[in-house]
Symmetry: C2
Subunit: 242 residues, 2 copies
């Protein structure tokens, strides 16, 4: 049985972190809501009182009887099955901790364009967004990227490696997620991201390296990769970049 | 060796979710930054380049060689050791999924009073906060509480139980965290919370029930429980409630 991924069909969003793991591993999966009749199937999990353990929101994974939401929890579950996390318990926890920090960062990136309410249009909170974006570029973007860089710098297995990785000596789902974050930042904040990556060369090298992964390269060039757009987390609003 | 919890010494904040688990289990721990010389110890983990796997931010737990940040990851790790999670893998994952949803909610609660920048004073973003608070009360508070209520309603083990619990038939760290969220909401948004709890009677019953837990009752009445205040996540700003 292929995994079922349920997520909004027209954006990368948080679903993309799961897609990248499934694609990198070559795991069989169905992107349910992008299939004919898939949106009602997704909606049923979200709204039917018969679902005993309901997701709060997409993305969620269905694997047999298991219905599992929360991006980081999905990756915690899939990691060992897909060979995308170290076998040692301490490595698995550290990978998860990094993923949760990425999740925090992603939520902040989203709120740059929606500081007042996710249910309102960007245009209805643009002034506030510009204020938040200035703080984001100056403080938060810098702080998070410096942390990722430090994690890469302090991983002893990166000494002499062609591509730095976050945890130990193997590719993990956290590496794929950090790739996605950098990819999204380059789309949404090209100027600020160019600047911050100069001070985070290992993060830039990880981003470049993941993009050359055989299966991911094929995925990124395929129609399965939805293009960045102004409905997702990473949105290109030039007035928010500098 | 007692667990070491590292967190800001003057607020409940995110550290409180870990404190509640340790206290409910009667586990030996040191609240490091509240001890003499504890702040430099915490700061060293955050800033020394010698820490190979550095926390991004407090809270973090030190257990022997393990340094573990991210509230939900700490509880994932402590849950089995403290007897605060079910033994079945599916129950452990579901508990973690609920905890991550609580974490998302807590971040939103924080951003109600800091919608523009966590580094700015509330007074410098009060107008934006009032706008965000109106949306929070109307939409987000309602949506999250309805989800917690549904989770409690659909847990078959709650039929006939004196106190509803989120996962299976035992007290979990997610129950303690939901208690904390309700406690904080009652402090920060007394009017809106009274209203929303009327539609979430199981959430209210869980909150009341956890407060009667023998060890937690003693903890909550002790000096170890820091009072809510206007430096933490849950702040009482009357202009944000209605």
């Amino acid at each position: 049985m292929p995994y079922e991924l349920h997520y909004w069909p027209t954006i990368q969003g948080r679903g993309e972190f799961v897609r990248l793991a499934l694609e990198a591993a070559g795991a069989p999966y169905v992107d349910v809501a992008r299939e004919e009749g898939g949106m009602p199937a997704m909606d049923r999990y979200l709204s039917s009182p018969e679902v005993q353990r309901p997701p709060f929101a997409p993305p969620f994974l269905v694997d047999g009887k298991l219905v599992l939401a929360q991006t980081a929890a999905i990756l915690l579950y899939l990691g060992p099955k897909l060979g995308l996390v170290g076998a040692r318990a301490a490595d698995a926890l550290w990978t998860h901790q990094i993923q949760l920090t990425i999740a925090d960062f992603v939520a902040e990136v989203h709120d740059v364009h929606h500081p007042i309410a996710s249910g309102l249009y960007y245009e209805d909170q643009q002034a506030e967004a510009q204020r938040r974006a200035a703080d984001f570029r100056r403080h938060r973007l810098t702080k998070f990227m410096a942390w990722f860089e430090a994690v890469l710098e302090r991983n002893p297995r990166n000494a002499g490696a062609s591509m730095p990785q976050l945890v130990g000596g193997r590719l993990s789902y956290a590496d794929l997620s950090l790739f996605q974050v950098v990819d999204g930042l380059q789309y949404a904040f090209p100027k600020a991201t160019r600047r911050v990556l100069k001070k985070a060369p290992r993060v830039a090298a990880l981003h470049a390296g993941v993009a050359t992964h055989r299966r991911l390269r094929a995925y990124l060039a395929s129609g399965r990769r939805i293009a960045f757009n102004e409905q997702g987390i990473f949105r290109r609003y030039p007035e928010l970049d500098a």
